[in-house]
């Protein structure tokens, strides 16, 4: 609801911060694949309720982002606490491409060059900057990240 009512007023060059997506990515980095996929499902459904895009678009999109963040995040975190933030741009781009692909399959027109240039790349920048604020907040909520399965 915050993403639908409050964040549009804070849009940068028309690009809104995708708060729910960033929370899914941050949780994936902290807690691994399984939990981030669960939150991708819950968060995706919640966002789809407010979106005019085909229902399920955000579930697929966030699921792809969760897969990236949940797989790579815990590994990178063993190297450095800040390195997982580098996953954010990749996860955001993959999520946006997945969403655009779902909409194209559903029959929505998707002009790929302008979609990438005017939406996906700016969203990657805006969300990456926003993650610098969101990740510490998520870390404060979850002070004990789970180690990757191969280490257990």
């Amino acid at each position: 609801m915050i993403q639908s009512t409050v964040l549009p007023h804070l849009a940068i060059a028309g690009i809104k911060v995708e708060l729910t997506l960033l929370l899914v990515i941050a949780w994936g980095i902290r807690r691994g694949l399984e939990e981030s996929l669960l939150w991708a499902l819950i968060g995706g459904i919640a966002v789809d309720l407010f979106s005019a895009a085909p229902f399920g678009t955000s579930v697929v999109s966030y699921g792809c982002a969760a897969a990236v963040a949940g797989s790579l995040g815990p590994l990178l975190r063993q190297v450095s606490a800040l390195l997982p933030l580098a996953i954010t741009p990749l996860a955001v781009v993959i999520a946006a491409l997945a969403a655009a692909a779902v909409m194209a399959l559903a029959g929505w027109p998707v002009p790929w060059p302008s979609t990438v240039a005017l939406v996906i790349l700016p969203a990657m920048l805006v969300d990456s900057l926003a993650m610098l604020v969101i990740y510490p907040l998520v870390s404060a909520l979850d002070p004990r990240p789970r180690a990757p399965a191969w280490m257990i």
Partner: protein, 270 residues
């Protein structure tokens, strides 16, 4: 008891004696000397008393000032609230007047006022959420406008809310006509939020400043609704059609209230 009263007699006799003696010059001199001696003493005593009296008055004044301060603060708060409220009321008044004027100009439309309560959370979709739904007579496909022009079309409805796809969305297509030359075309949204009018016949003149309105073709939108104004034209003799950039009539980033035309639904072409 009588013996006690007897003690008063000498006192009274002395008092009478003093009254009589006060007329004597010697007694008056004594009186003046005593007064002269006691005067400075009295003056010294009176100074702190005067100060104490002033302090007392100041304390009383402080409590009066506190009460007045509280009263003035409340007045300032009331005026501050009004200062915020008045511009809002003026804005609402202006909007309602514009809606009323639009209704008078278009008596064929039944209009339902709605407030924008949210925006599509996805960056890939340009849509808004309004606070009217099926309970208020809104249905899928209805046209959404403001007195300034076309906003979009209802795409999803619930009992109390509806999602409206804006004309600036890339999936939006509106049949339009240039008012001056009657050149017809299709107005599409884009990722940048601008509008592009395509399929404009080459032989018809279109120039910046021309107004584009809905043509009513296809029966989706009622005719005559202002879509936007031509800002640039791209014409190439080797192309079949010319293209025009159109600036939306409605600043969709600032609009807060919209109107739903509830007595017009898209025609189903067989």
């Amino acid at each position: 008891m009588l013996s006690r009263l007897a003690y008063a007699i000498p006192v009274l006799l002395v008092g009478i004696l003093l009254i009589v003696a006060s007329r004597l010059p010697q007694v008056q001199i004594l009186e003046a000397v005593a007064f002269e001696v006691l005067g400075p003493v009295q003056d010294s005593v009176s100074i702190p008393v005067v100060h104490l009296d002033r302090i007392g008055q100041t304390v009383e004044r402080i409590s009066q000032l506190e009460a007045e301060n509280a009263r003035l603060r409340a007045e300032v708060e009331r005026l501050s609230r009004e200062a915020v409220l008045v511009p809002e009321l003026q804005r609402e008044n202006a909007e309602l007047r514009a809606e009323l004027s639009f209704q008078h100009e278009h008596p064929e439309f039944r209009l339902l006022s709605a407030r924008i309560i949210g925006f599509d959370p996805s960056n890939l979709v340009h849509a808004i959420i309004i606070d009217r739904g099926t309970r208020h007579g809104v249905a899928e496909g209805m046209t959404v406008i403001t007195p300034s022009g076309l906003v979009g079309q209802v795409v999803q409805v619930s009992p109390t809310t509806a999602k409206v796809l804006l004309i600036t969305d890339v999936s939006s297509s509106v049949y339009g006509v240039v008012q001056s030359s009657r050149a017809r075309g299709v107005v599409n949204g884009s990722r940048s939020g601008d509008l592009t009018m395509t399929f404009i016949p080459q032989n018809l003149k279109v120039q910046p400043g021309d107004r584009v309105v809905t043509s009513g073709l296809g029966g989706v939108f009622p005719p005559g609704l202002w879509i936007g104004t031509v800002t640039a034209v791209r014409q190439n003799d080797v192309d079949l059609y010319q293209e025009a950039k159109v600036q939306p009539a409605v600043d969709l980033s600032r609009v807060e209230e919209v109107l739903v035309i509830i007595n017009h639904l898209p025609s189903k072409l067989g």
